[in-house]
Symmetry: C2
Subunit: 287 residues, 2 copies
């Protein structure tokens, strides 16, 4: 496994691999690798002959009062995990490599970036788009793997790729969950035992909602109230930031739960803000 | 010469040319080809084995009250000129090809896009960045050629390429001028004889300014006043939109004309808004 810190080195190794007729797989991460990331790496391996993982805690996607400084930096464990999962190249640039002198460009999709998590994190998705655009240009034509847990991120990146014609295939992989249903997240480790126990209510609430939608096509407001009720009982330590039911492409609120809808929520516990979502098609029996 | 309208065709021909070890040259245009464009095509030919010209009147770089509808569409003449200058591939997409359903992404560099022409054209450079980002992703690694007449555009695109790591070399070529010094521009043809005669004053004023800067390092205000005085006398039919002296990288106003500065101006005549500029290094004797 190669571990490199410069753009030139990434290009050198990737172009060599591409010349040898490999499909290139890219898994962009901020490190703190967990089961979710590893499932992306495994999916990349299945589809691609050469797998690149980037590890970069991207400052432009954190807001001024967010947790960038205490975001886990677990480089040695991350590299061990990459090795164990057969990664070919790890790109771990410094902030200086990614945002050199005079950096000013922003890639954004205002309509999508302002929805859901964007209401409390107004600059987050512009930071994500910009750094992902850079990674795509650094790596070149590839398949890039993202987790469904960050559904809004995946929608935005798909839109960016389509709009700007990046020669990149976006693959979205299912959310990996802990035993009690909590979506795997680097931030789960911030939770002390009591909120960690309550956090399972996020996924449970979403599953209840999905069941109701498939059974009786209730209004979005009814479903949202039911989820909020569940969270109030099962996760009293969590402060609900949003529970929304939206069109999975436009991220705009829907009023009725017909066809395919995304039920998404964010809840703040002491120590960590958690998100989760479920895609529901009211016309199918579902998983 | 191939003439294609789809992204897939561009990629097919360009990847074939790249596989045959050609450096790819890209000259993005809005058609209405004149001597300036042809000099870019010729420069592309000197540096590259395969030359692509895009012809696309990009709606997102026009403001609501600008001249998009009456912008010259001279496709047959443009194609003839491309043929005569040995272009390999012309890409003439429709608006639908470039901005399909649901298009929402914007690439912008707010600080640079708000300077100079951006004051009266606040959305122009975001439109330019976005369409050029698309063209770079469609064509892939290449050398891309832009004229110095659109100096701000060239600065912004260089910044975008550096910031987002596009695998593209930007080449800026000297402004091509008509016999009386007027910078070649598709919009010159809008001018009736009287304003056309006066329009030569733009370049003359800039050349006078450059001479003064090299001789006596005056303040920017002194130089600007001198240019405005020249325009008032020699181009009374023109309404000065701006005359500015700026740092050629940041586009911020300078107060003293020391080192390398850009003197830039925009003047509105009946029928056409014209721009021009001159790069002056106070430390050298100049051309």
């Amino acid at each position: 496994m190669e571990i490199v810190g410069t753009i030139e080195e990434v290009r050198k190794f990737v172009s060599r691999a591409a010349e040898a007729e490999n499909v290139i797989g890219l898994v962009p991460t901020m490190g703190g690798l967990h089961g979710g990331h590893l499932s992306l790496i495994d999916a990349a391996h299945e589809a691609c002959g050469y797998v690149v993982v980037s590890i970069f805690v991207n400052p432009t996607q954190f807001g001024p009062n967010e947790d960038m400084d205490r975001y886990p930096r677990t480089q040695e464990a991350d590299l061990d995990a990459c090795r164990a999962h057969g990664v070919d190249l790890v790109f771990t640039p410094t902030v200086e490599v990614m945002y050199g002198r005079g950096f000013r460009t922003v890639v954004n999709i205002a309509e999508l970036a302002g929805a859901l998590c964007g209401r409390s994190r107004p600059t987050h998705f512009a930071g994500v788009c910009t750094v992902v655009a850079k990674l795509f240009n650094i790596v070149g034509p590839c398949k890039a793997f993202f987790g469904q847990k960050d559904f809004q991120q995946a929608v935005i990146i798909r839109r960016m790729v389509a709009d700007l014609n990046f020669p990149v295939d976006i693959v979205t992989c299912p959310t990996v969950r802990e035993r009690d249903g909590l979506a795997a997240s680097t931030r789960n480790q911030y939770l002390s035992p009591e909120p960690r126990g309550q956090a399972a209510a996020l996924n449970a609430g979403l599953r209840l909602a999905a069941e109701r939608i498939r059974q009786s096509h209730p209004t979005a407001a009814e479903v949202i109230n039911a989820i909020r009720g569940h969270l109030a009982t099962a996760a009293p330590g969590g402060k609900v930031e949003y529970v929304q039911i939206v069109d999975p492409l436009t991220l705009r609120d829907v009023e009725v739960t017909e066809g395919e809808v995304l039920v998404a929520l964010a809840v703040k516990f002491v120590g960590a803000r958690l998100i989760d979502n479920i895609l529901v098609d009211s016309r199918t029996a579902g998983p």
